[in-house]
Symmetry: C2
Subunit: 294 residues, 2 copies
């Protein structure tokens, strides 16, 4: 019998990872130059965490309760938001917050250290720009649409918000198809080397591709859409073969798997959003007041 998802059961959010993510936290428990402050269910953390795993940048995983805002978190992230990075070997101390800023930092750092990358090479600015168009859309449209839908209580508002999220995902697919058409299908490619470098900009979207920038930017929300929005809102992701194959590659990629907890953790932790309990989070408050995300 399906569980009744219409009633707030008052479940508490989790503060410790479970499943594969728990194993990863345990593996990454030694002191390193960089400490990643994270919270188990937060998608903004997960995108950064996936990047650490993929790029091979050494880090210590450190779980904090984002709603308690411990002082050590406030010292690395002024609003008390995760993710935050603390650099342990600097005086004056160094720290970074904002998931997109941290991702750019890790990309720059890896390019000079581990030599791994989530982007096409700087020698092809256009291929990089097409990727940035995708991630800009994810951050400014898809992510806010996810929260508006999850927090909407009124049925009519839910219907509208669900359509908007669907549209945001379709627009992303359109941008991925455009990149595929212009980069792989387009002229002006001088050989297999350039083709391979450029295909980096398509990530797992194409069969045989490797993890890319947009994959990392969007994966945590698509993962939660398939699980949490389906549970609380009956949401169905687009059904096309190509889209489904992309999701399969994305959700089985080792760097993604390594940062995922078990389903119950997400369902429990997002109940407060799904019933729009007061003061759920700064993100929830921003959506409720029609402001940009913090």
């Amino acid at each position: 019998m399906p569980e009744n998802t219409k009633q707030d059961k008052g479940r508490a959010y989790h503060t410790k990872c479970t499943g594969a993510a728990l194993s990863t936290v345990a593996r990454q428990d030694k002191d390193e130059d960089i400490t990643l402050f994270g919270s188990c269910f937060c998608p903004f953390v997960q995108r950064v965490w996936i990047a650490f795993e993929y790029l091979g940048v050494p880090y210590k995983a450190y779980e904090v309760d984002p709603y308690k805002k411990p002082q050590e978190l406030l010292e690395v992230s002024p609003k008390g938001l995760v993710p935050g990075l603390r650099f342990n070997n600097y005086n004056p101390p160094r720290a970074l917050n904002e998931s997109t800023v941290i991702l750019e930092y890790l990309e720059d750092l890896a390019s000079g250290t581990t030599r791994r990358s989530l982007l096409p090479p700087t020698t092809n600015p256009y291929a990089r720009a097409l990727v940035k168009l995708q991630s800009d859309h994810v951050n400014r449209n898809l992510v806010p649409a996810f929260y508006r839908f999850l927090q909407a209580q009124d049925t009519e508002v839910q219907i509208t918000a669900g359509k908007e999220l669907h549209q945001a995902i379709e627009t992303l697919v359109g941008l991925l198809e455009r990149a595929e058409r212009e980069i792989i299908g387009g002229g002006g490619i001088s050989g297999d080397g350039e083709r391979q470098a450029l295909s980096k900009g398509l990530g797992l979207w194409i069969e045989g591709g490797d993890l890319g920038w947009t994959d990392v930017m969007v994966a945590p929300w698509l993962y939660r859409a398939r699980l949490v929005l389906k549970h609380y809102r009956g949401f169905e992701l687009p059904q096309g073969d190509k889209f489904t194959a992309w999701l399969d590659r994305l959700f089985t990629h080792l760097a993604v798997v390594a940062t995922c907890s078990t389903d119950d953790l997400y369902l429990d932790s997002y109940e407060r959003y799904a019933f729009n309990r007061p003061n759920t989070s700064q993100v929830a408050n921003a959506i409720n007041s029609g402001r940009g995300l913090p």
Copy 2:
């Protein structure tokens, strides 16, 4: 006698640059690989335009009426928003929109062609990240606060919105001061070469500095705040000596001067925002509906 700014005089927005910007359009009228689609009063265009001028990337300037949305604009920018770039030598055709994406494109392009840059080198990821923290704040907080203030009609709402814009500017100053402290004041700098490279991340904020990423990102709104918000809302920018000196350097930098029209153009063109006329723009509609900027 001061002009009455409380009444909508029904002035029309301008469609052609004036002053120094007009001279620049005239200078940049030859066919090039890249055509910049712009509109004379649009700050999102101006930031891209400043970057073209500073980085020395060849371009043709092309003025369009952003509210008419001509077909050729829709072909380079799906929502019909300026700025847009058209690359004239590709099949299938290539184009880019979104000012922040275009800025990253120009930075990447210039790094391999004109060798000019608005950012610290990739060899110092932390210095770059501090700059990105600043521009992330500009885009997600300062720019929306500018429009909320300009469009607010109710006096109480205007007072609140004015305070929020002030706070957003102060927060930016805080981030600039942090970068100065951590980059120039901090340890771990190996010599004058590194110090010079890093100071690039501070832009014109420091005396003797050169134009930087954050300068370009924020200059168009600070310029309009000093002129348009002062006129229609009595707004005063922060008064500190350091802040004022920064603005002086910013507003007298050749790449900024070259992209500025005369004051009347801005006062006329922003009247529709200041009285929040219906359908002023997609940006205005987004602010009115509590959504993120398009």
